[in-house]
């Protein structure tokens, strides 16, 4: 007798580098737990929630925007957004990352923040002052009322810039599980190392190009 074919489920995407590639700035141990346990369980729990419902088969972005429900979150939101947020976070980093962006991206940052240093300060401050669990972002606002397309935001828990209609460009996870094994309570040290050694400006650049072409 043929076994029932399981309905299509979301799969856990691996980071675009081996789990030890970000050492010593983010240990393999952290990746084993952060990706292997936390991220995996968001995927598994989301599948449990949406399999057999009308959300199954929709894109992750559609599930997120649909279950955000103007802030009155429906149950799948937390898991869906956290799956997306973590995919995005791994992409925001690379081995030998950090430093400064160049070209169009740098120009845009200088235009909207005054200087790269001012942007970096604002981003670090957002990450450091997000109370409780959450994320800090560099995002692209396609319809800025003040003319500034690039914005730094901080969001609580699973919320992300998609729910505002923005395009995310860069993120740092400031849930304690993201840094506790390597930095314990020293969140500012984690943020510094992220900026100096981990950020993938290539990834940010690529995302900005896509965002600009979509807005045009």
């Amino acid at each position: 007798m043929a076994a029932a074919i399981p309905a299509a489920k979301l799969e856990l995407k691996p980071p675009p580098y081996p789990l030890d590639a970000l050492e010593p700035n983010m240990s393999q141990n952290t990746l084993l737990f952060h990706w292997g346990k936390h991220h995996r369980s968001y995927v598994d729990n989301l599948n449990k929630q949406i399999v057999g419902t009308q959300l199954q088969g929709k894109s992750l972005e559609d599930v997120i925007v649909g279950t955000y429900n103007n802030g009155d979150l429906l149950p799948p939101f937390n898991n869906a957004a956290q799956v997306w947020n973590h995919d995005f976070f791994w992409d925001s980093m690379k081995p030998g990352g950090g430093g400064k962006p160049t070209g169009e991206l740098l120009k845009s940052i200088e235009r909207d923040f005054g200087s790269f240093e001012k942007f970096s300060e604002e981003f670090r401050a957002a990450a450091a002052t997000q109370f409780g669990s959450g994320w800090a972002w560099l995002a692209f606002n396609p319809r800025p009322s003040d003319g500034k397309e690039l914005v730094v935001l901080k969001t609580p828990n699973a919320v992300n810039p998609l729910v505002l209609g923005y395009t995310a460009l860069l993120t740092i996870d400031v849930w304690e599980h993201a840094y506790y094994l390597d930095y314990q309570n020293r969140r500012p040290d984690y943020i510094s190392i992220f900026m100096e050694k981990l950020v993938s400006w290539d990834a940010v650049c690529a995302k900005l190009e896509v965002a600009k072409s979509q807005a045009a």
Binding site: G132, S133, N157, A158, W175, E176, H177, Y180, Q184, N185
Partner: protein, 266 residues
């Protein structure tokens, strides 16, 4: 006029420790110059922060909750996080004296500001929350409450097992950072399990908490990593202090009428 003004101003002065006789000429009193009577008055230690609230120690040694909550975790949780909230609060209060003079309970409620919290709320509430949390645990804890408290739990939850299930379920389903509480609701006059986010706690709604569990990741990550379930079970089975919960509900009965006073002796 000279002696009259001396007398009047002498009465207005607080009794200073080095002056026994208020009738002494003020000029002969050895008062430290005003600028020396700052935050370091009475102490030689250099301190950058004016201390309004202090860091209370847990009522047991930092290794006393081993192996369910390690010394290493306590050193970080109490010594860095809890300590950091105290320092953070004191730094904020230095800025102006408008919030000066409250008890910690009062400060938490005032800064909660009916749901539109002032910047000091997060620190104040987290100081309070951690004081309360250490006291909610004891070495050799766990087990079950007895007598009056057990009866109240059975009355409001059906059974202790049912309460325990609800408490654990709340702890596992709390998303993000927060706390789980067994609370005596003042108006409803009954016990409930309540989840709060970040720094919020039941005293801001004038309710009376009996025990709490910290579910911020920093409370368990060093010992249990992502396994919050194992942490919650260790708390329920080996750490929660039903003795302290009983003391708290006895005190609460002075403010909330739960019916016939239950004196918890056999």
């Amino acid at each position: 006029m000279g002696s009259f003004s001396l007398h009047a101003s002498c009465l207005a002065q607080p009794k200073l420790p080095w002056s026994n006789d208020c009738s002494q000429n003020l000029n002969s009193l050895k008062l430290p110059a005003l600028q020396q009577r700052g935050p370091n008055f009475g102490s030689r230690k250099a301190s950058k922060v004016l201390a309004f609230y202090g860091l209370k120690s847990p009522p047991y040694e930092l290794d006393a909750l081993e192996p369910y909550m390690s010394k290493r975790l306590m050193e970080t949780h109490w010594g860095e996080h809890h300590h950091g909230y105290v320092e953070g609060l004191n730094k904020q209060l230095e800025k102006n004296d408008i919030l000066y003079g409250y008890t910690l309970d009062e400060l938490v409620k005032v800064t909660y500001n009916n749901g539109n919290p002032l910047p000091e709320f997060n620190n104040a509430a987290q100081v309070w929350n951690h004081d309360f949390f250490w006291e909610s645990m004891q070495p050799g804890g766990g087990g079950m409450p007895e007598l009056g408290l057990l009866q109240q739990i059975e009355k409001d939850f059906g059974s202790f097992t049912n309460f325990k299930e609800k408490f654990i379920e709340a702890a596992l389903s709390l998303f993000g950072s927060g706390w789980v509480w067994l609370v005596l609701k003042r108006r409803e006059k009954r016990l409930e399990v309540v989840k709060t986010s970040n720094a919020v706690n039941p005293i801001v709604w004038d309710d009376i908490p009996l025990i709490s569990l910290d579910t911020w990741e920093h409370a368990y990550y060093q010992d249990y990593k992502n396994d919050r379930g194992k942490y919650v079970n260790a708390f329920m089975n080996h750490l929660v202090s039903w003795h302290v919960a009983t003391v708290r509900i006895i005190r609460a009965e002075a403010f909330v009428n739960l019916g016939e006073p239950k004196i918890p002796v056999a």
